[in-house]
């Protein structure tokens, strides 16, 4: 190449760049998203970091507003039958995938069938089990997918039939498991449809780049029905698991939003960047599972002693530093469809010294004490916060004559052990998938017989109480929301009075939001779609 040519090329490139910078004037959101997405397919994802990406590029029948309440999404409106069993959704006119193909009722029917197809192996399919025959199809009992309660009446009408009336159904439709997938692409490419060169979007953004370990990049989807009101043109969802490093990059101006931050820095943030750290109640419970299948934790006295001797008030404010509120019950405060007064045991009001005295008494009754200490292993997955709480609680149990051996392992190993029942006390947490008390209460339901064993699902401690199970079944059939709430509250009381597990604190969401960002509304689901945000430079 001659020098003149090089010069020419360089000038052209410069002019092009200049033109682009003057015309595009793109507003870019740099979001720290935490973990690396495992997939972009709504039927294959399972984490909140994946939800942030997926929920920006695909929209379900119902979507969230800035407060994370359900609002019309791809469906403009819907009718519900009198018995609460049949929902009829009317799709918007002119909605399309970003390749120009219209979004039709067929895409939804196809998506729900794909979700429930056992071959898809979707982690979270169970969230849509309220749909007629969904569970049976997902577990392989019914093999004809057309028996699923999702039908296309015409191109623009989707009819969903439920097993029984479900008060949280609309809310669960905002979940990514209820998202449509482009039937034409999935049929052509199979699971590979999420490759960046084939992927399409029907939401406010479309995926343009995915660099595992670094970021996912999305751009505004001009074919989205509400595109004119979408303010941010480009979003980077950054992968960075080291929270301290993430905060550094936020302070360096490289990130606009942090979706988590190190609890130790909370005070610093409040002092130095006032108003930027958002710590808000988040529907979820942090708890310790007690393995009740074997000695010694099958003894309710020991469970009680362990639970009442946990000084919960000190955990959130002091040990963690972000002020999480103490949990004494099982259903997070603020959960919908529930009774006003949350479960509050009498012992929670007792002074701590009395609680310890009572706990020591209980331990003595059960045959343990300083001379005959109880040796317990406490398992947690490797994480600074889990470790601190474990250390604190081990110290709280020491006066009861309990020797705690701490044992940490990676997440996969930890949950493998919990599921196998290979533990005594184990750390766990549950964030609500949909805003309803049944979501946490189901964690304590007796397992179901399967083959020659029991499938305990997420009930790692294997707590089992017939009365509790009966109440849950009764609540599921109850149509009156108030009565249903009361039945569920009874169930919660039974389980908690028996110390089925040790709730420790209610989760909080921890975001750091730059003053440049507007439209970020704190909410109990911690869902903030980019669509509602604006950024001023």
């Amino acid at each position: 190449m001659k020098i003149t040519q090089v010069l020419k090329a360089a000038t052209t490139a410069g002019v092009v760049a200049l033109l682009m910078s003057s015309t595009a004037y793109a507003v870019t959101l740099q979001m720290h998203n935490g973990g690396d997405p495992g997939s972009l397919d709504p039927h294959k994802v399972s984490g909140d970091w994946e939800n942030r990406v997926v929920g920006d590029y695909i929209e379900g029948l119902v979507t969230e507003n800035a407060e994370a309440e359900p609002i019309p999404g791809q469906a403009e409106s819907w009718d519900v039958s009198e018995d609460g069993l049949v929902y009829t959704f009317h799709l918007r006119d002119g909605i399309q995938w970003s390749d120009g193909t219209p979004v039709t009722a067929d895409d939804f029917v196809f998506a729900f069938q794909r979700l429930m197809n056992p071959a898809t192996a979707s982690d979270y399919a169970y969230l849509q089990y309220s749909i007629q025959n969904a569970e049976a199809i997902n577990s392989g009992e019914i093999t004809d997918f057309n028996e699923l309660g999702v039908k296309a009446i015409d191109d623009q009408t989707v009819e969903i039939t439920l097993e029984q009336p479900t008060p949280f159904f609309l809310d669960s439709l905002t979940h990514y498991t209820a998202f449509p997938v482009p039937k034409h692409l999935v049929e052509e490419h199979g699971d590979a449809w999420t490759e960046t060169d084939t992927i399409v979007a029907n939401g406010p953004y479309k995926i343009v780049e995915w660099l595992p370990g670094s970021y996912v990049r999305s751009e505004k989807n001009e074919t989205y029905y509400d595109a004119e009101n979408v303010q941010i043109d480009e979003v980077f969802y950054h992968v960075l698991e080291d929270q301290a490093a993430a905060l550094n990059r936020y302070r360096a101006g490289e990130f606009d939003i942090l979706t988590d931050f190190p609890a130790d820095q909370y005070q610093w943030l409040q002092d130095n960047l006032p108003g930027e750290a958002h710590v808000e109640p988040f529907l979820g419970v942090y708890y310790y599972v007690l393995n009740q299948e074997s000695e010694p934790l099958n003894d309710v006295r020991i469970r009680e002693a362990l639970s009442i001797s946990v000084m919960r008030d000190v955990i959130g404010p002091d040990v963690l530093g972000t002020g999480e509120l103490p949990a004494y019950g099982w259903v997070p405060p603020g959960t919908g469809n529930y009774v006003e007064n949350a479960y509050a045991p009498e012992w929670a009001e007792m002074p701590y010294e009395e609680r310890v005295a009572r706990a020591i008494e209980l331990m003595t009754e059960a045959g343990y004490g300083p001379e005959n200490p109880l040796n317990l292993q406490l398992r947690y997955n490797t994480n600074d916060n889990h470790q601190r709480i474990a250390v604190a609680i081990a110290a709280m149990w020491e006066p009861l004559g309990v020797n705690v051996e701490l044992f940490n392992s990676e997440t996969a190993v930890h949950y493998d052990a919990l599921r196998a029942g290979d533990f005594q006390v184990g750390r766990a947490g549950w964030l609500l998938d949909y805003n309803d008390p049944s979501n946490t209460l189901d964690l304590l339901k007796t397992g179901i017989t399967q083959g020659d064993g029991m499938n305990w699902g997420n009930n790692y401690g294997r707590y089992s109480n017939e009365e509790f199970d009966a109440l849950l079944t009764q609540a599921a059939a109850e149509q009156d929301l108030v009565a249903r709430g009361e039945i569920l509250a009874q169930a919660e009381k039974i389980a908690m009075d028996e110390f089925a597990a040790i709730p420790i604190y209610w989760y909080v969401s921890k975001n750091v939001v730059s003053p440049k960002i507007e439209g970020f509304v704190d909410n109990a689901k911690d869902i903030h779609r980019t669509r509602w945000l604006t950024k001023t430079e």
Partner: protein, 306 residues
């Protein structure tokens, strides 16, 4: 972990010099070396400092008001407070940092020592066998060593830790077991030259078994390389351990190590600086001392300068 401190190159160099030397090696060399070492001021100061750290780490905890696992609910994440006896402050669990630093130093020392002993033992035995038997045995055994140099050790250590869990003994026997390569090479070289010596010939003629000859006549002549090797290996292992701690693969709570303490201190360097400063200072001092001692020993034992 080929050469975090450049150990392999240093030692290989040293071994080459030893091999080219024909002088008898034995007591006189070590005595001579000791005399020369005492003339190296940096090394002497380092030895005393290191001894002091080791002593304080092991004896100090008996004189402290707090134990390393004791929680002081009234002092969570507090800066140094002399009235309460938290001379280095407390961590986010209200545990005394001084007590934890001492315990962590203990753990790091133990771990490094165990790993070093393991690697030296394997290296000596392997190298001596290869050197003593020579011929095809030697060729095959050394080829294996050559190729094992090319394995990404830190990856294996991570896989091992993931497999075996957080048991410190098991873990550092694991590290030690892959640190022996250089040692094996040196010992082989030494053995090759030693086995031609008269005293070995005599022992052979007397009907001594190869194992007896190796252990009684060859191994005792390896003091020099072993000492240098150990001073260079200990820092490597301490650094490797701190890296594993950063990945969350360190020792189990409530026990701790310098690496674990530093990896917890690093993210809070601005807000709780005392959590980083104390362990980092101990680590830096220890590693500096070991480096100076290593340098001093190498100079002192250098056969060329005699």
């Amino acid at each position: 972990m080929a050469g975090i401190t450049g150990k392999d190159a240093v030692l290989t160099d040293y071994a080459n010099k030893l091999a080219t030397l024909d002088a008898p090696k034995g007591r006189s060399l070590t005595q001579d070396a000791l005399r020369r070492l005492t003339r190296n001021k940096a090394a002497v100061v380092s030895i005393f400092l290191l001894l002091a750290i080791v002593l304080i780490a092991f004896i100090g905890p008996y004189f402290l008001p707090w134990s390393y696992s004791q929680v002081d609910w009234t002092a969570i994440r507090k800066p140094p407070d002399f009235d309460k006896g938290h001379f280095f402050g407390t961590d986010q669990n209200g545990r005394d940092m001084l007590a934890r630093v001492l315990q962590g130093t203990q753990m790091s020392i133990i771990v490094a020592a165990v790993a070093t002993v393991v690697s030296v033992s394997i290296g000596v035995v392997y190298g001596a066998i290869a050197g003593y038997f020579g011929g095809r045995v030697d060729a095959v055994m050394m080829r294996i060593v050559d190729i094992m140099y090319a394995l990404p050790y830190i990856l294996f250590v991570i896989i091992l830790v993931v497999m075996f869990g957080r048991n410190p003994v098991l873990l550092f026997v694991g590290i030690g077991a892959i640190e022996w390569l250089t040692m094996a090479r040196i010992v082989r070289g030494q053995t090759l030259s030693l086995k031609e010596k008269e005293f070995v010939e005599a022992a052979k003629a007397g009907g001594a078994k190869p194992w007896t000859i190796i252990m009684r006549h060859i191994v005792p002549n390896l003091t020099g390389p072993v000492v240098i090797y150990a001073t260079l290996t200990i820092p490597e292992i301490i650094i490797a351990e701190s890296f594993l701690s950063y990945l969350g693969l360190g020792v189990q709570e409530p026990q701790t190590s310098l690496g674990t303490l530093i990896s917890f201190g690093a993210p809070v360097a601005e807000v709780l600086p005392w959590m980083l400063l104390a362990p980092a200072a101990v680590l830096v001092t220890m590693l500096l001392c070991l480096t100076y001692i290593g340098d001093g020993l190498r100079d002192a034992l250098d056969p060329k300068d005699r």
